[in-house]
Subunit: 461 residues, 2 copies
């Protein structure tokens, strides 16, 4: 069985049951049914509850046994101690995937929870059931209208090509909500929770093959088998970028994992190993989003020689600082480019790299040509573009995009305007494959991350 087939019951179920479905809007069992409904899931939805007839318009079944047919996926929101027996009943209905939202397993750090988790794993493995969780918010597949989570709002996420694997429900919600704001399109979102029999490595392998995924994003606190994860990632990064945000340093490790201590002190080693595997490491959830946005829009540069075209010197300096800190090199233009820029732009402008288009930005033809010349230069791998709102400027976005595509260059931009202004311009840039960020530092740091991945891919190809 291929990895795509193995995960089919989780991501593309024909039917879903919700064990612990509820009519009470104060219970998670209510939101799980609502999520499936709001996402307009096309398959059958079977709420299970002995005390209800209808939930959100769906016929309710008193028990799993009473279901009229076999079911692919079970969403389980019942007390932990009832989970193993429920899983046995699920198996009788040929369930092959389970999203166990319930908490009270390994994470409580007591004999009782550990035992329950072990039991659950054993039953799942016996019947070949893939489990997401326990202790998770769920799973979302925007390409299948599947929202098997307790968060109905996830149904409103944009469909796209970024897969997100998160070890924390909270962080996953933060990332998704900000992603919504940034217009980032997701393929699938998985909250791995306690990782019963589906580890980061399994999902990396899956998303490596998933045709709907172009970029893999991860939020990680700890990995049980780091070696396996690293080995799997090493293979996948040849085809698709993996961006990871790893937390859990000594301070938080002590606080949160004081019962196991397994992470304490290992953080930097993890980070180094991940990076060596070719995983792009980021330092915040916002940087994670910025990086996946840029990677979803374009191919990374093959090398680190960057140029800056800016309407103002300050932001250019700021961007150069961040890029050179990140190991990139300010490109040295060819004599030809230098000559042409000198003719094109007025004196008193910085016409080398960075190129200060201040006086020329109101002259649309000069503006287009300056960007074209820089992109055409053989010594330039990427263009960092900065523009500040001015009522007189009509940004020639199509021409920029045309030049970028013609010369097969990477382009990352920062476009800043007063509140509620130039929103259409920014949207158009992203539609044409040029990511836009709200600050020069965020644009530049994203370019550093893209370049890291570009070098990895060059190395392995």
């Amino acid at each position: 069985m291929t990895v795509l087939e193995k995960f089919k019951p989780i991501f593309y179920p024909k039917s879903v049951m919700v064990v612990g479905a509820s009519k009470d809007p104060n219970k998670m069992g209510y939101y799980c049914v609502k999520s499936l409904k709001d996402a307009k899931f096309k398959g059958k939805i079977y709420p299970i509850n002995p005390h209800a007839q209808k939930i959100l318009g769906f016929k309710v079944y008193p028990s799993i046994k009473d279901l009229p047919e076999n079911v692919d996926l079970a969403v389980i929101v019942i007390p932990a101690k009832a989970v193993p027996s429920t899983l046995e009943e699920c198996a009788q209905k040929q369930v092959k995937g389970a999203v166990i939202i319930s908490g009270g397993f390994k994470e409580i750090g007591r004999e009782e929870g550990l035992k329950l988790q072990e039991e659950t794993v054993n039953i799942a493995n016996k019947y070949g059931i893939k489990i997401i969780g326990p202790n998770t918010f769920g799973v979302v597949n925007l390409h299948a209208n599947l929202n098997a989570s307790f968060t109905p709002i996830f149904s409103k996420l944009k469909k796209g090509n970024v897969a997100l694997i998160s070890q924390s429900g909270g962080m996953c919600h933060i990332i998704s909500y900000h992603g919504m704001e940034e217009g980032i399109g997701f393929s699938k979102i998985v909250g791995v929770g306690n990782r019963c029999n589906v580890e980061f490595a399994d999902l990396i392998e899956y998303f490596g093959e998933d045709p709907e995924t172009k970029v893999i994003a991860m939020y990680i606190e700890g990995v049980d088998d780091a070696r396996r994860m690293v080995e799997t990632a090493k293979k996948v990064v040849r085809k698709k970028p993996i961006v990871a945000y790893k937390v859990g340093r000594e301070g938080s490790g002590k606080a949160v994992y004081s019962h196991t201590g397994s992470l304490a002190g290992k953080h930097e080693i993890y980070k180094a190993a991940f990076k060596q595997a070719g995983i792009i490491m980021v330092d915040s959830c916002i940087e994670l989003l910025d990086t996946v946005k840029a990677l979803a829009l374009q191919e990374p540069p093959n090398n680190g020689r960057f140029a800056v075209v800016s309407k103002e010197a300050g932001p250019a300096i700021t961007m150069i600082d961040v890029c050179t800190d990140g190991g990139l090199t300010l490109a040295k233009f060819t004599d030809e480019t230098n000559e042409k820029l000198k003719k094109l732009l007025p004196p008193f402008t910085i016409r080398t790299n960075p190129v200060d288009v201040a006086f020329a930005s109101l002259n649309i033809e000069a503006y287009k040509e300056a960007v074209r010349l820089v992109l055409a230069d053989e010594n330039v791998d990427t263009l960092l573009f900065f523009c500040l709102y001015h009522p007189g400027i009509k940004l020639p976005v199509e021409d920029f995009a045309k030049a970028k595509n013609k010369f097969k260059k990477c382009m990352v931009s920062c476009v800043v305007a007063p509140k509620n202004m130039w929103i259409q311009v920014k949207r158009k840039m992203e539609q044409m494959g040029i990511p836009v960020f709200p600050s020069p530092e965020r644009a530049a740091k994203t370019l550093v991350n893209l370049t890291f991945y570009g070098k990895i891919r060059k190395m392995v190809s």
Copy 2:
């Protein structure tokens, strides 16, 4: 003359002339008149232009000589070579402040520009004229309805207590536009440009005394007399926080200042000296804004022992990581607090520090009490608060603020909701003095900066 009096003609002029005023919306001379008009400046506005009668409804004077009375402030937007003689004419009208927007001085790095700047300084000093610029976008004083800049939109900024000194027009616009979005209130904004006879040190001294300024923010590329700046800052930080974003590392120094090389390699030394002077150093324009926002809302903590109250574990871990990296210490609650939290919150919750209020956040009384207990703890200096949107939660903001004020604690929060949701809740929190940030890392880094300043102030008091 006190420093407040010295700068009065710049920040509180009774009348302003615009030398180089224009009717043409493609010229900066047009926008300078528009800025003054849009800000509803209460004093007289005198556009000077030999070829126009009216500009934006104002009577135009053909030359400075023709003005009917003396004028306090001159905004100058004419070619550089005409500036010295214009300044002589200004002096005849008792002008005591000038905002020289024109470029073409020292920054062009040629004999010609250097000479012009020297000449300008000599004339200004001879007549006791304070100059902002040259090569600046201008000056804004929101408390005097004065927008002496080429950016009319600055008139829409919120009036408040943050003073901004910027060496780059571009960065100043980025900071101001984002500040607009964050609802940050500014007292005065100054683009120092080439710094003829008004240096960072002078403005720090001024804002140190300015009753309308509580926090001083700076964007710096290079300082001519760093020692003087540091000495001045050292005194001012006893009363008011100074937050600085210093750029210009070796890479950008080479590129942008290749004609002088004066900054190359000194960046880290500058940063260290500034920090030692008690200046809060930040790494991005967004961090600059975050930090000034928090400082404008509340007093900094006296010490670095922080507590975390969160509805989710992931964001709490993330915040602890950032804080411990920044040298802060996760507070150890007293036995009393531990006992009470244990009774208050259900088992399987983390009830030490961080406090995971997951299951209790829907119980408003327990939520209030958990926050109150943590704020009351004598081992806690600050509270980092995280809350993720949930349809069932009504955040008891007033009660949080009451407890914060009662126990005189600092509180920094991250509240995350899907697009366009909980905007009122976030606004209310800030109205009650609790800054809200969109990511756990930004909230935590702000707390690190606040704590740095709290320690500085404790040391000097």
